[in-house]
Amino acid sequence: MNIRNIPVPDIYTDSQDFRFFLDWFSMCLEKTQYDTESLLDLYDPLRCPEELLWMLADTMGYRYDDRLCPAFNRLVLLYFMSMIYNRGSRDGMILAADVNVAQFVIQQRAEEDDILSNRLEDTSIPVNSANVTSDLETGTIDVVYFSDRIPADACIEYVRPLGMYVFQRAGVRFDARTKIAIDARLTDTRDMAMSFGPTFVGHYRRDDYARLQRPGDDPRDPVWYRNSVAEGETDPSIHPGTRALYSLQLANGDEVVRALVGDIFSLGYNPQAAGQTMPDIDISDPPNWNLRYDSTTDARITPVASDSDLAVATIKPAQSTSVIAPVPKVNDVMTELGDPLSS
């Protein structure tokens, strides 16, 4: 309850002296009231006062990282327990590396705006922006950040399994089956007024897809509201689903784009030198084309834990009677409510 709203007989409020003291009492006590009501915010990484954040980190077992701004430390604390639960695993390493990559955007905003140095606006992390592979033979773990520079490592030590080297580098590494494209296109001048603003590498969620289907509803997730100086007022005409779609393409963080353009798409970017020759393709060992309909080949070329584990195969061997009648490994049609979603 607001202290100012405590009722007093009207007759007293006519007196200026009395009004002064009513105002004075509420001024005295309102801040204390607010602090008391907000006491449990001390446990919240997003709301804990900046000066006390290191103690919250210490309480959780994380050592506050002075090299990076408080907003980034808040992000780490948000994801810290997930890292601890997954420590020693590939998932944990990927999560820690993804959180590391998030520092580029947060640090950049912190440099532009003092308030954003402390306040964490976007709690998402750039999923799939790091590739982690391990080699038990040599005892090494490779972390490739999908970026043109290596972030300051704030998280890896809390998750990496002891006894293996961890080599971190900036670059691009992804599954060769992933389709990645950068489009250059002419812009319709009539569309130039439309701004997507800077889109971030971010989480995407099931309802982001859903919004694509039903653009009439607009319960936008706050993550996608823009409030940067460049954009000015939030533009309600921007279709939230489209923005979510753009975020799916990953090609929107500055560091991601530079990593892509430099390392992957440089071929043909500039005229080749006259003396440059391309290596011949060795046809003695033809590429192993696999259209994912031959389960035997699929299993052979896919590293799996055991023969029965066909996690990546796209056909169901049990139901496929022959290679020319494959049953794709997708969920069955749900004919009745309550049918299993996967089989």
Partner: protein
């Protein structure tokens, strides 16, 4: 908002008396033109100040609440219990000293011993002390069927002792052939009991308050006694209740109990409400046994236990305990110092919130499994007998070397001294890694500038045991002084001392590590680099003092330094700073005004130690440029006879 955790005060709210009164004076003119308060006696000003004081008090209370939120500042034990309970850490209550006692048959005949529980007693042993000037008997109870720590036991999983065995076994018969021995666990204290009807337990919301607080929470037993009836005139044990660590374990429908603490921090017994499901139980009585212990003053030294009194009397059963007391040799481990992988436990008083904070940091986020580097560091630091420790693996060793390499403040010579080398951490047998590719930013045309091919899947511990003193575990391995490189042996100088704890101590730590089944690494111990140092300087008191007072002040100063820089209070890689030394000395005694910390030519921190050879004392110096993260700065005063720290002579009178 300011945080000052050294005094345990978090400044959370910005409201205090002065800020409120500032507001008062500034808003009066904005709210009214009619009143211009000037005099302190003005009723309005009095009212304003009164309210400011009241609001200030509320602010202090809010700050105090904020204190209790965070681990580093929580000050009340009942709050610490809840806060650290979230991460699974339970605060220690009174702890009875425990030790292992070995009985050896030194006669020519076979002797049969029975350590069974009988006549409401365990077999007991006594130790005698007069440390307080009063003769005192310390009693140890031998727990039947217990034995020494086995291969699968570990101190890091804190088992409730009573859950593992039937301590009230009426027989624990052991036949000792000549020369053979047997080991049992003994707990300090007096066995007490208390009985309470089941119906009353139910009325009391399943809690039982005990008429004592000096109880060891790991040595409590609860059993249900059925009443005597006409058909069966003897009372008998109906159910033995099992102790579990927390009420969360009551989900299993079994007779279970645990020790909890009420809102005033008193220990009590909580009974599982499974008791409701037991039929015809209300007429029973719960009998609680516990060990009433003396806490820290119940600890004993080596082989001081004697006067073995068996509970099972030879007079009732001539087949056992019928021996000549001279034929049994009793030996025990000391428990004044905790040892890894043994049942020796030092007696303790209840943990304070501050102690719980420090100890809980060694358990947080490990979830009883060791995976990451912080986990292993916590494991090592919480091991009994480790003052301070550090664990590194190949990656950390490489990171340290890379950090030294990239440090522009060091010369090439200084860098080469600080690198972790093959003497500090094992080098891999073969090189499977293309280092030129991995460390592409480092010039390797003339080979790697520092050691880098460290052995994978291994971790090396550096630890300091028992303040560098010898213990029951023997003598530490020391190479003194160690000369790096090919320089000829220099008798009065060297790089540093290499130190490793005693081998049997290391075996104990490794034995505690194995049951945790952390399969990622082999754990081994390496030589730490030790750099002894001492302080030189002059103290200026507030007023001239006599020679006796001066000596007393110096003794206090040296004690304060020894405590502040003791291994248990310091970390590896932590160098002492002049600021710290000055602060410790100036706060050691209220009569000290100023400590003159010397100059460049007369440094206050001297890296060396006093040695005496052939009756001649000299200072052996060490090269602190070798100091790196696996190094420890050991404070070692030159002794009370030396004037390395002195009161300025002008200020001594008489």
């Amino acid at each position: 908002m300011v945080s000052d955790t050294s005094k345990g005060i978090v400044k959370y709210t910005s409201r205090d008396y002065s800020s409120i009164m500032e507001d008062f004076w500034s808003i009066v003119p904005t709210l009214t033109d009619l009143w211009k308060p000037e005099a302190d006696s003005d009723p309005g000003v009095v009212l304003g100040k009164f309210l400011a004081s009241a609001a200030d008090m509320l602010g202090v209370n809010v700050d105090a609440l904020a204190n209790e939120v965070f681990a580093p500042t929580v000050s009340q034990r009942k709050n610490a219990e809840k806060l650290f309970g979230i991460i699974g850490y339970k605060l220690g209550w009174f702890t009875a000293a425990k030790t292992e006692v070995t009985f050896t048959n030194n006669s020519a005949d076979t002797v049969t011993l029975d350590f069974g529980f009988a006549n409401s007693n365990f077999a007991t042993l006594n130790a005698y002390t007069d440390i307080t000037g009063q003769p005192r008997v310390i009693t140890y109870n031998i727990i039947p069927l217990s034995s020494s720590y086995g291969l699968y036991d570990t101190r890091s999983k804190r088992e409730v002792v009573t859950s593992a065995l039937n301590a009230f076994s009426g027989t624990d018969r052991v036949s000792l052939e000549p020369g053979k021995s047997v080991t049992r666990v003994a707990i300090e204290g007096e066995l007490r009991n208390y009985s309470i009807p089941v119906s009353q337990v139910k009325q009391n919301n399943y809690t039982i308050k005990l008429p004592s607080q000096h109880l060891d929470t790991t040595a409590i037993w609860v059993e249900a006694i059925t009443p005597a009836t006409e058909e069966d005139p003897s009372e008998r044990v109906n159910t033995r209740w099992t102790q579990v660590p927390s009420v969360a374990d009551f989900v299993v429908p079994e007779p279970r109990f645990c020790v909890t603490y009420d809102n005033y921090g008193n220990a009590q017994i909580q009974i599982s409400n499974y008791i409701n499901q037991l039929e015809n139980y209300d007429g029973n009585t719960l009998l609680i046994h516990w060990i009433e212990c003396s806490g820290v003053i119940g600890s004993i030294g080596t082989d001081v236990l004697s006067n073995l009194v068996m509970a099972v009397q030879a007079t009732t059963n001539p087949a056992v305990n019928n021996y000549d007391p001279e034929s049994i040799t009793i030996s025990n481990l000391p428990n004044t110092l905790e040892m890894p992988h043994t049942y020796t436990v030092t007696g303790k008083s209840p943990e304070t919130a501050k102690e719980a904070y420090i100890n809980s940091r060694n358990y947080i986020n490990t979830w009883d499994s060791l995976v990451t580097l912080p986990d292993f560091n916590r494991f090592l630091k919480r091991e009994a007998g480790v003052d301070t420790g550090l664990v590194i693996d190949c990656q950390k060793a490489l990171e340290i070397n890379l950090a030294i390499y990239h440090n522009d403040g060091l010369t090439a010579s200084q860098k080469s001294k600080q690198y972790i080398t093959g003497y500090d951490f094992p080098i891999a047998d073969q090189d499977n890694i293309d280092w030129r590719l991995v460390l592409s930013d480092i010039d390797m045309t003339n080979g790697a500038p520092f050691p880098l091919n460290f052995k994978t899947f291994s971790a090396v511990c550096y630890a300091i045991h028992n303040d560098f003193q010898d213990s029951a575990y023997g003598v530490a391995s020391v190479q003194n002084p160690y000369n790096s490189g090919n320089s000829p042996t220099v008798r009065d100088g060297g790089a540093y001392i290499r130190y490793k704890p005693p081998y049997s101590f290391i075996d104990g730590v490794l034995a505690d590590f194995r049951p945790l089944q952390a399969m990622t690494v082999d754990l081994s111990f390496g030589y730490a680099r030790i750099f002894p140092w001492f302080v030189v300087g002059e103290i200026y008191p507030k007023a001239p003092v006599s020679a006796d007072v001066a000596a007393a002040i110096i003794a206090k100063v040296k004690e304060a330094l020894a405590l502040y820089f003791a291994p248990a209070n310091r970390d590896f890689g932590q160098k002492p700073t002049i600021m710290e030394v000055v602060e410790v000395i100036e706060n050691a005694d209220s009569r000290i005004k100023y400590f003159d910390a010397g100059s460049i030519n007369n440094p206050v921190i001297n890296w060396g130690e006093k040695i005496i050879r052939n009756g001649v004392s000299s200072i052996r110096e060490y090269d602190v440029e070798y100091f790196n993260p696996i190094s420890f700065a050991r404070y070692k005063d030159t002794g009370a006879a030396d004037n390395n720290i002195r009161i300025a002579p002008d200020w001594i009178v008489g």
